[in-house]
């Protein structure tokens, strides 16, 4: 499985309140949540994002609230993958559980710039910056998590057991 898209770049500690502000949490509809994704940190994100695009950020992406609405909004906005130096742990769990591919890779997070064209190979964990030609080795998932991802989320995984 591969993802390929243009990069939206953010800094440290992107919290779930800016990914999807609580004022919109009176809805749990993915399409509606997607229309407010990243609104408080990047008001043009929704306007500019295309299906398949990739978010790259520095450390502690997704910190704060446990709202699963955050990875749901990102996924529903069309984002194919999030690359970060580190992820906050609840966001990490939630992304795997709903089937949003995420990869930890400090080197890629530092080197990739906004607007770069990037390809991610989930089987090998290799991240390629097609704009600069650089490639990076992202952290591969433990086998247990690969099973959840292959099942496209925790619910299917449990149903298959």
């Amino acid at each position: 499985m591969k993802a390929e898209g243009r990069v939206f770049k953010y800094g440290d500690n992107v919290d779930t309140d800016v990914i999807i502000p609580a004022r919109y949490l009176n809805s749990s509809d993915p399409a509606e949540l997607a229309t407010h994704c990243m609104e408080d940190i990047d008001k043009d994100f929704v306007k500019n994002v295309n299906k398949g695009d990739i978010i790259v950020a520095n450390k502690n992406f997704g910190c704060g609230s446990s709202r699963e609405h955050a990875p749901i909004a990102i996924k529903a906005a069309g984002v194919s993958c999030v690359i970060a130096e580190t992820f906050a742990r609840i966001f990490y769990r939630n992304s795997i559980n709903i089937g949003l591919p995420i990869i930890e890779c400090p080197e890629a997070a530092k080197a990739i710039n906004a607007g770069d064209a990037v390809e991610v190979d989930f089987d090998s964990g290799v991240i390629t910056n097609k704009t600069t030609g650089e490639s990076f080795q992202g952290q591969a998932f433990p086998e247990f998590m690969q099973k959840i991802i292959k099942a496209e989320g925790l619910v299917n995984y449990i149903n298959q057991k």
């Binding site: 500690n13 919290d15 309140d17 800016v18 502000p21 609580a22 004022r23 949490l25 009176n26 809805s27 749990s28 408080d40 940190i41 450390k59 502690n60 910190c63 704060g64 609230s65 446990s66 709202r67 699963e68 609405h69 990875p71 749901i72 580190t86 906050a88 742990r89 609840i90 769990r93 939630n94 559980n97 709903i98 433990p142 247990f144 989320g153 925790l154 619910v155 449990i158 149903n159």
Partner: protein, 421 residues
């Protein structure tokens, strides 16, 4: 090699004699929690499962608290979804408006969380129950759904940071100042994926409400959980509130810690976190004049009876600064009633504050105290992220109830000594 307190609880719930940091395990759950924002998503996920029944109707807690009493039609639909699910599955611990409270103040008060438990909640501040010596951690809605259906959850066994607390906090310094001080020291990802284990003689000098506040904000340092040893004070609390038997775990003497941090509680001063991260801490005695527009005293972090008593002591016989809104929110109905009986509510209203029914409300920018552009709030809540309490250009300063109450009188960030207390 020895195990930390957290590792021992997880091992026991996974049916293993030993676990190591980094190991993936499946653990039995003693309680699965959800609120009015996270439960509807979990209920929807559970509908997709082949398992159609809950694992144990006594071990699920559903607490509509974020946007209740329903703030708008959409919130009302969410609450209706939770209510119908609770009725359909005969969930014992469903708390309707009138019996509810903010989940993390309510569950210990109701005796649903005790030492030795493994608890997951679809709310990041589920880590609060570590104050009683339980392993409790926040998860998302899908984990909640899986937990409700199977009674199990997967965990990566965390490593730990040990905080050795000594000394006694000085007057007006509370658990909130302690945890803000710690977050300022290690940063908002300082304990990422890790346990924060609090030990040492100083623990005895912290009230249960102080410990709930400290464990509550472990997540603000990125922690998986925060946990305290079980002492006489914790036992007394559990005897008073719970009918359940508890199990006490202690860390092995040779348990391995990634880091050991010693903190003398007597040296900690009143502390505030500046916008827009909890790690931006300053002591109140070191800051310039910062005028404010609103004060909030409440939330799962600081809406307990100790917090209201401190605020009332400072506000007694005084009036809030002109043009300032002061919003006080007891965290549960029981705390609200106690505040009425002790005359605290009267003190607040006479001082010019508004007292609200229990709700998370303004903490997450839901309702009941939203900020306009350019406004500043001193708040006893737990997060000061961009736009958290309202307009994207508003500011939140996190503080203790004592600092919040003193600031309510002066209209700028202040500590009790600034008003001669």
């Amino acid at each position: 090699m020895g195990m930390t307190m957290t590792q021992k609880i997880l091992a026991a719930h996974a049916g293993l004699s030993e676990v190591k940091a980094g190991q993936l395990i499946e653990a039995d759950l003693d309680l699965v929690l959800g609120n009015d924002i996270t439960s509807p998503v979990a209920i929807h996920e559970m509908e997709k499962m082949t398992v159609k029944t809950v694992f144990d109707k006594d071990k699920i807690a559903l607490v509509p608290d974020h946007f209740v009493p329903n703030k708008d039609i959409k919130s009302a639909e969410h609450c209706k979804c939770v209510r119908q699910f609770a009725m359909k599955h005969d969930i014992t611990n469903y708390f309707e408006v009138g019996q509810m409270g903010i989940e993390h103040a309510l569950l210990p008060e109701q005796g649903l969380t005790v030492a030795g438990d493994v608890i997951i909640g679809a709310d990041s501040h589920t880590c609060t129950y570590g104050a009683l010596g339980a392993f409790s951690t926040g998860v998302g809605s899908t984990d909640m759904a899986a937990g409700m259906a199977t009674g199990k959850a997967w965990f990566k066994v965390p490593s730990a940071i040990k905080f050795v607390l000594t000394g006694k906090p000085s007057k007006w310094v509370s658990g909130k100042d302690v945890i803000l001080h710690i977050i300022g020291m290690i940063g908002v990802d300082g304990a990422l994926y890790k346990s924060m284990e609090f030990v040492g003689d100083g623990v005895a000098n912290l009230s249960m409400d102080d410990r709930f506040t400290i464990a509550n904000m472990a997540i603000e340092a990125g922690g998986k959980n925060g946990i305290f040893p079980v002492d006489d004070l914790a036992r007394e609390y559990m005897r008073e509130h719970s009918k359940r038997e508890w199990v006490e775990y202690t860390a092995d003497e040779d348990a391995e810690y990634e880091q050991v941090i010693e903190i003398d509680l007597s040296t900690i001063k009143s502390t505030v976190s500046f916008p827009h991260l909890p790690e931006n801490t300053h002591t109140v005695d070191s800051i310039d004049e910062i005028k404010i527009d609103q004060v909030v005293i409440g939330s799962c972090t600081n809406g307990r009876i100790d917090d209201l008593r401190v605020a009332a002591k400072i506000l007694e016989g005084k009036t809030v600064a002109k043009g300032l809104r002061v919003i006080i929110i007891p965290a549960t109905q029981k705390i609200y009633m106690q505040a009425i009986e002790e005359g605290l509510v009267q003190t607040f209203i006479k001082a010019g504050a508004v007292v609200s029914t229990p709700t998370c409300g303004p903490c997450l920018g839901g309702y009941m105290g939203i900020l306009a552009e350019g406004e500043r709030c001193v708040s006893t809540t737990n997060r000061n992220f961009v736009g958290r309490m309202g307009h994207v250009n508003s500011e939140i300063y996190l503080a203790s109830p004592a600092v919040a109450a003193a600031s309510a009188i002066t209209g700028k960030i202040s500590q009790p000594s600034d008003i001669g207390m």
